[in-house]
Amino acid sequence: MEERIKRALKTAKADYLEIRIHEGSVTNINYTGKELEAISESDSIGGCVRALVKGGWGFVAFNDIENLPDHVVAAVEQASILRNSPISLAPIPITTEYVKASVNIDPRDIPLSKKHAICQKYNNIILSSKLIQTSSVRYMDSYGFTYFANSEGGYIAQETIFCGMSLLAIAKEGANVQRAFESVGDLRGYQNVLGLEAKCEEITQRAVDLLHAESVEGGIYTVIADPLLCGVFTHEAFGHLSEADFIYENEKLLEIMQIGKRFGRDELSIIDDGTLPGEAGTNKYDNEGTPTQKIYLIKNGILTSRLHSRETAAKMGEKPTGNARALGYVNEPIIRMSNTYMEPRDWSFEKMLEDTPEGIYCKGALGGQTNMEMFTFSPAEAFRIRNGKLAERLRDVVLTGNVFETLMNIEAIGNDLKLHGGLGGCGKGGQFPLRVSDGGPHIRIRNVVVGGR
């Protein structure tokens, strides 16, 4: 493969050109209720060429890698049509490296029958409760090998092994249907999916409890978010806005997003780190061949850096950060987060709770979305806080915040950092789901708008 790619590169007539070939396989198992809805192992091979000619990009994706030289020509031709003003790419070291994945247990060493058996075991635990109507247990592992080479002489082959599982319990009484969900997934290996019996029992109980929980009353609340939800909050509330492709050509936004500007209190630091071993968003190199790094986006409340591709870094006179990531060979790299988290401080959760007369405690995360100004995020479960103690369970809690205000409203940051990946991921520009980890400690935010009836 290396020979083939290097030969094709030689023919390229472009200001810059890169080739990426991906080979891999995926195992999927899905129990829904009593039925095994899917069990399969599938293979794929495909590649792409990205060419830069006078500031315009041509991108070609394909499965017929035997015709790679033709695709190189096509990408260059396409890029040549655009006729923009030339742009530069920030320099990166020219690297030749083979990056091997490191996992506790390689899922490829586990036979399909064992993977099936563990899904069946978890599924049976969930279905054993009388009030549970149905379940979903989804197992996924993927093995991938990505060859990357560019016209500057870089050649990187990276191996990635992902393994994870999601668990869903659905309880029902008449038309009242409630769900509880958990998901694990990252690059640590097959051990991720072992020993989840207690989690299965927990979501089963939670789904049943939700049948009799009260819908939250809409209003403005003080909210304590657990580490998982803090992660989603960090990702939505600030992570996306630090992606330079949204701001690098926008002067007005650049003024707002000036390095050195205050975005939070002194205690607030937000980090993106693509190097954390085993986390879902980890890669040694991004899909432009830039090494990943630990980047402080906000340090002690002050904007210190942002996430870059080589193009945005050059344009803004900053350094590339290794955040140009592509979902697959069908996609061009765009700026994405990797593992994003808020740094812990000194509040214990117990003290934070005691110190909160009224509010909502939100645990786990179902999802989040942002339009770069406002964002929503929703917990997997929620409880009312009264007089510094957890009170009744709530349901249907969706929170909203404003990027430019809510970070200032974080009034307590806990001492218990946790990161979390999962089977889901981040979506941007049609590329979904990209594996990322999010995290943080417990945090308390005031003035959060909560929707409700």
Partner: protein, 436 residues
Amino acid sequence: MKVEEKILETALKLADAVEVIYEEGESRSVSFDHNKLKYIHNKSIRGVGLRIIKNGKIGFSSTTDLRIPEKLVERALASAQFGQEAKFEFPSPSKFFEVKIFDKEVIDFPIENAISFGKEAIDKALSVCPDYQCSVEVGKSFGTRRLLNSRGLDVSRNSTFYGMGIDIVLVKDKGLVWVGEGESSRRKIDGLLRVTEKVLEKLRLAEQEVKINSGILPVIFTPKAVGLLVAPLEMGCNGKLIQKGASPLIGRLGEKIADERLTIYDDPTIDFALGSYPLDGEGVQSQRKPLLERGVLKNYLFDLQTAGMLSARSTGNGIRGFSSQPAPACTNITIEPGDMKLEDMIKDIKYGVLVDQVLGGGQSNTLAGEFSVNLDLGFLIEKGELVGRVKDCMIAGNVYEVFNKLAAIGSRPEWYGSNYVPALYFSGLSVVGKEE
């Protein structure tokens, strides 16, 4: 012999029944970012999926690596050892009626020509406000799908797609406004400038920002926002969730669950609509059927296996790509129009909200009908007029309740993706704003 035929032949020696789906497609697009021409994409993707039945059990695998078909067969067989019991037979060849999903004009259109459309649209936007940041994408694609099975079915269909869209972002001193609009079809369509005008009009309405008083208020959903309200019904009517007993609509066929003015169809037979097809992903004829007829629940949607498990018939909703097994899903959703113009709905409201874009759809318990969303783009209505944009505001409710609080249905449906729906006007929904 073509690879899909070879796979069928090889698999049939080892399995009792076989189905092969082969797909290839090519898509091309031009995109502008931050007002500049940025990318030309060309993606040509192909792949094959193999579903078999062996000893009464289903097996599946897929690949994009066509060099070793034997491995695909091996993997499908391995999966059949564990697979679900098959409750259906692959369909045999039969006569079916066509639905138009192919337009040669799309094929003949050179995508480079879209560059001038993009420039024109951006020039138009910048003439209104030089601070606008526009991104434009115009794309087209062509695809072929061939479905073969061991009962002799062998059907190939070509399809085309053409889409265009523009997003405009305006950064203000505190915050920003982001409006996007697009149109797509299986036919070649024109009118990026018209789409741009739509965005510009919304940006104009959003210039003024106003605060809102929380409460139970009358709310209008534009056709673009109605998708949020349809999603729970799509889930509720999904045969898979019926079979699992999870849908709140189980056992309620024939029951009136919504206002009697509401009639909603799942309709894959509309020529050139995005969700249309003559045959579904397992070769079953597509059909138009009501989900709700005058408020009465009429149909669930099935593929072959799910229908088989419930002794029902497939409704031709077995949706799939080559890399997955079929599963029931909606196609094009249409809501029968009513008699009230959107302008008249606005005039009718003393104090209320017009919802156009939302954030956080799908983050609630959609299966139960719940929604709780941020007003990404929404406007306050005062004394029959739109007075400005409302931000940091949540709207929440339950679809199965609000479908019974309908004040009026809009008279002019619009296409948004595969939904063809009018505006919906509700008498009272919970609105929470940020009063400080």
